[in-house]
Subunit: 239 residues, 2 copies
Amino acid sequence: MTDASSERAENGDKVRTRSLSVADRIRTAILSGEINAGARLHEVKLSESLGVSRTPVRAALQALSSEGLLDYTPNRGYSVREFQTSEIVDAYEIRSTVEALAARFAAERGLTEAECTIIERTLTAGDDLLAKPQMHEEDRVTYGAINFAFHDAIHGAARCRMLCDMIRLCQSVPQSSHRNVVAFERTDVRRRHDDHHRIYDAILMRDSHRAEFLMREHVASVKSGLVRQLSGRAAEPRR
Amino acid sequence: MTDASSERAENGDKVRTRSLSVADRIRTAILSGEINAGARLHEVKLSESLGVSRTPVRAALQALSSEGLLDYTPNRGYSVREFQTSEIVDAYEIRSTVEALAARFAAERGLTEAECTIIERTLTAGDDLLAKPQMHEEDRVTYGAINFAFHDAIHGAARCRMLCDMIRLCQSVPQSSHRNVVAFERTDVRRRHDDHHRIYDAILMRDSHRAEFLMREHVASVKSGLVRQLSGRAAEPRR
DNA sequence: TCAACGAATAATGGATACAATATGGCCGCA
DNA sequence: TGCGGCCATATTGTATCCATTATTCGTTGA
């Protein structure tokens, strides 16, 4: 019976209808920049290039549209949504608020054994990575994954589907993914990883207020970094 | 030319593809309770009862699913999502945070003439309504509309599509609509309307911090009222 | 008698054909 | 020569048919 249930669970993960696969492929293509922002997505062309009929393509486009990745006008089709810089900054602002709420919920509701294990693993993995004398590009990618796992665990621990839906909305904004720590300096990563330790402590201590505050600050600092980076490219810091 | 553009604008609102109409009808049926929570929605039955083919029904179901109104399992179809009481309470908690952010953005970014006019209209309309010696059921419904218009104007003034998307998510939760002030006492309405005045003042003064705080408190108080109401039905207040 | 396997049935997923709508270019007229 | 309307074409919306998957009921074996 355990066999059957595990098999079912496996299947539950593996259920890949064409529509979902197509959505994944298009999403990846958009986020990787393979498809330019503002480009129109024609159903027939997509279906031909992907080797499927229009039906799953349409379903995928509708899904991506409600993820906020595409714009849709009835009878005129879909186009890749263009994000203004202000929208990206706003997304971070919103995400800092929403993720802070998730941290608060997690602290209020407590962590399972499994969640503790996962989080602690991300913490030690990050410690190990930062113990190395210097970080290479691949290390940054690795830390991106670690960072994602940490935040993801907390989202789950919030036990609130709506919150997760909202965070997903935030993550659909380009440049706003958790993996984007890649772009930052080693000292920044050091500091952020330290934040992770503190946030975990706060949640463990069920100190919801502190968890919320730390998480808000944690994400907001990424926003500041981004803003600095964006304006820094054009003009050097004033002082 | 003005004629053409206004006509286009009209059409822009009137573009009602079958899929959208069907989605509206099903959504209304769910929110009104005509379809019970947990019920499975069969594509063929729906298409027959609505007199359209399965195609627009499928599109509508997918849309409603991504609105958070339906649950979906591949190869097994859609069912009306059942909300736990805790989820409804959570939704208010989230909404208080998100709407507060909207108020802050509105204060930071300022209101247009048109938005000022709309908001002021809701304020005087509410004043008039509350000046009446007593409120009847229909007055409460009217105030529900006023309340909705006030909040809606602020959502727009935030000039942030993502925030609006998130608020829409919150509003798809039954019992969590802005129109639900209907259920409350006259003194509560009085207080809430006074909140509206203060929030508007804060936004006009560009006091973003105050606007955010007031809005958070404003929505959170509705949550408290709801919790009181929910637990109050079962057991009288302890003190 | 219960459990497990299998076939029948019903529902969803996908493909294709047809209808309706939008867009772009061309022609005619002022 | 410039503007406006109309027609051709391309694209999306809808309907219907077929394929695939799930569920249920019945049968068979232990």
